[in-house]
């Protein structure tokens, strides 16, 4: 067996240090590769959504009225939601101030605005019960209540399928967003909600929002009842 040495094997430690550093670099590389793929996926999704919105706008123009019969706006809404989820992931990894992330966020916000306008037009011309809510938020420092307001809106969106919520970072430097701010003469008192052209300042609870939206909620209930009755009678 022999007397075992206590002496530190420096060359082993050097090799271990190198191997650990390589694994560390590998971890960063992997993260970077995944983020690059996600950014690419978002770009593709955004392009796809952009084409879908453009084609719907073109249909409006050709028919000079809303293409109510063939309208399937819910697919677009889902696409928008998918992008927002992927965007969250990129923001969490790269950081909220990362230029690549900000670029994607701006593009996403423009798509949201276009979607919002389209949904508003569809609701008016096709007489569909869709209510769009524009929600302007800020970071924790500027708006400590925004996280709560966001959650309340998510709850309502899941509860009432006729609701469309469009969230915008109030401080994002984006011309169309500035236009919205100036049209509605918005003051920087966050959170701000725009429901059917009415601006509302400060956090609103679920109950308060349900009161504001009560007309549409009742309408949705009536529509649902009518659909159920129709379905039952068809069955007969």
């Amino acid at each position: 067996m022999g007397l075992k040495t206590k002496k530190l094997n420096w060359s082993r430690h050097l090799a271990v240090l190198m191997a650990t550093s390589i694994i560390f670099a590998g971890g960063f590389y992997l993260s970077n590769t995944i983020i690059e793929k996600k950014i690419l996926a978002i770009s593709k999704l955004q392009q796809g959504l952009s084409i879908d919105i453009l084609s719907l706008e073109t249909q409006f123009s050709i028919l000079e009225q809303a293409p109510c019969k063939n309208l399937n706006e819910s697919t677009l809404t889902k696409e928008l939601f998918d992008i927002s989820q992927k965007l969250k992931s990129v923001g969490n990894t790269l950081g909220q101030d990362n230029p690549d992330f900000l670029m994607l966020k701006k593009y996403y916000s423009i798509l949201e605005i276009k979607h919002w306008l389209l949904v508003k037009k569809t609701a008016q011309e096709c007489k569909v019960n869709i209510v769009s809510i524009v929600y302007l938020y800020g970071d924790k420092k500027n708006c400590p209540n925004c996280e709560d307001q966001g959650y309340v809106l998510t709850t309502l969106r899941e509860k009432y399928p006729f609701l469309r919520v469009y969230s915008f970072d109030y401080n994002l430097p984006l011309a169309p967003l500035d236009t919205i701010k100036s049209i509605y003469k918005l003051k920087p008192e966050l959170p701000i909600l725009i429901i059917n052209d009415d601006e509302i300042y400060g956090i609103k609870t679920k109950e308060e929002l349900e009161t504001i939206l009560s007309h549409y909620i009742n309408l949705a209930k009536l529509e649902q009842q009518a659909t159920t009755t129709q379905a039952t009678s068809t069955k007969k």
Binding site: G2, K4, T5, L8, H13, S31, Q85, D148, Y151, E158
Partner: protein, 411 residues
């Protein structure tokens, strides 16, 4: 990058560094895990069993001694009853009447180290083993240990400790922990860096007690202090990875907490008493391993604080959401927080790699210590729970030291 993230990267770097260091050491010594004796070596040896209220286990322990595959006449068994209030003494005396190799001594309660020292005094053999009264020796264990003493430079040989019959999750987690511990001790043994001569079974060349003195109270971690004292005096400690001793795992969390507080507190205070062992120039590998264990306890605490912070933050978020959404809260589908769901940071991947390294420890440990193996469930529970639970133990230890609670009892 937030400070907590920098700490995270730093901790993971150290953990990975240590893992690669261990793996590279195994690669070098992979053919030396088991000692190959040149001849049969079964000299006279005393097994000292200090007891304090061990009526439930002492019979099984003594029976395991009598079943040892070892030169019958070269075995002396010394039971020291440290003032038990139960039937420990009468049970041991009953064994003694049937087998004259068993000698029983009774003394007033004075603590485990005093019982061990009386055993050293009463021993008539050149080698002395210490065995906890709740431990059971594998038939071959003593033989495997004693083989290593054929090298005259070896002054102590430690065993592989396994948890006997793990039934509960808590015992299962301890089983995996001990498995990794046995494996790491063998790695440390290759580097002459063993820092404990565990109570369940360790055997000494009795000469050492004359040279460096008997056991000390040592904050009730006499086995740790003895190893440090031996290392300070450049005495060689090795491990017989195939010498198996079974011990009772802690049955309840409270029991485990008490044990770990005693171990951790003893560890810190004994390290404080031997600062020279941290001198890299003088003690090389041992110093690195000791430093690593100290840093390791801070890393464990950091991990616990980080995880607790995240958990409390998440619980607060959910509670707040419940207040906001009221009855609609349960309508929403369950989702993990964003930092779990959307995590693609390097820290996340490196964290997964570190957990992978922990898993490799288990599998290498199983392979090299020839352990029949813990169940998959126990491995999963160990990986998910142990790092956090260990963090609680370390934080509690520091609080205990800071607030100077009185000594923990005989164990």
């Amino acid at each position: 990058m937030a400070i907590i993230d920098i700490l995270g990267y730093f901790s993971i770097f150290l953990a990975l560094y240590f893992a690669i260091f261990v793996f590279s050491t195994i690669f070098e010594y992979k053919d030396n895990f088991y000692y190959k004796p040149k001849r049969k070596f079964q000299p006279r040896v005393s097994l000292v069993v200090p007891c304090y209220n061990e009526e439930k286990t002492i019979s099984k322990t003594l029976r395991s001694f009598l079943n040892l595959d070892y030169q019958k006449n070269n075995l002396e068994i010394i039971v020291i009853d440290d003032g038990s209030a139960d039937k420990t003494l009468s049970i041991a005396q009953e064994f003694s009447r049937k087998d004259n190799r068993i000698k029983v001594f009774h003394k007033e309660n004075g603590g485990k180290y005093t019982a061990l020292n009386l055993g050293i005094e009463k021993s008539t053999c050149p080698y002395l083993g210490t065995v906890d009264a709740d431990s059971f020796l594998h038939k071959e264990s003593l033989k495997k240990i004693m083989e290593q003493f054929e090298d005259q430079k070896v002054m102590a040989v430690i065993s592989s400790v396994r948890i006997a019959n793990p039934k509960t999750i808590l015992e299962g987690i301890q089983y995996v922990e001990y498995l990794i511990g046995n494996f790491l001790k063998k790695v440390f043994s290759f580097l002459n860096g063993i820092n404990v001569v565990p109570g369940p079974l360790s055997v000494f060349n009795k000469k050492i007690f004359a040279k460096i003195g008997p056991y000390k109270k040592a904050y009730q971690t006499e086995d740790l202090e003895m190893a440090l004292r031996m290392q300070k005096n450049n005495m060689l400690i090795t491990q017989a990875v195939d010498a198996i001793v079974y011990t009772q795992g802690c049955k309840t969390f409270k029991e485990l907490l008490r044990q770990r507080l005693r171990w951790n507190k003893g560890g810190i205070l004994n390290y404080k008493d031997y600062p020279e062992l941290f001198n890299i120039k003088k003690h090389g590998n041992l110093a690195y391993l000791l430093l690593n264990s100290v840093v390791g306890c801070f890393v464990t605490m950091g991990l616990f604080i980080y995880a607790t912070y995240r958990l409390i933050d998440y619980a607060y978020l959910k509670f707040n959401q419940l207040l906001l959404a009221k009855e609609d809260f349960f309508r929403l589908s369950f989702s993990f927080p964003d930092w779990v769901k959307f995590n693609t940071t390097p820290l996340f991947f490196l964290g997964l790699i570190t957990l992978g390294a922990l898993l490799i420890y288990v599998f290498l440990g199983k392979k090299f210590t020839k352990d029949p193996g813990p169940s998959k469930m126990n491995i999963i529970f160990f990986i998910l729970i142990f790092p956090l639970v260990n963090g609680i133990f370390w934080i509690a230890t520091f609080l205990l030291i800071i607030f100077k609670r009185k000594d923990l009892v005989w164990d």
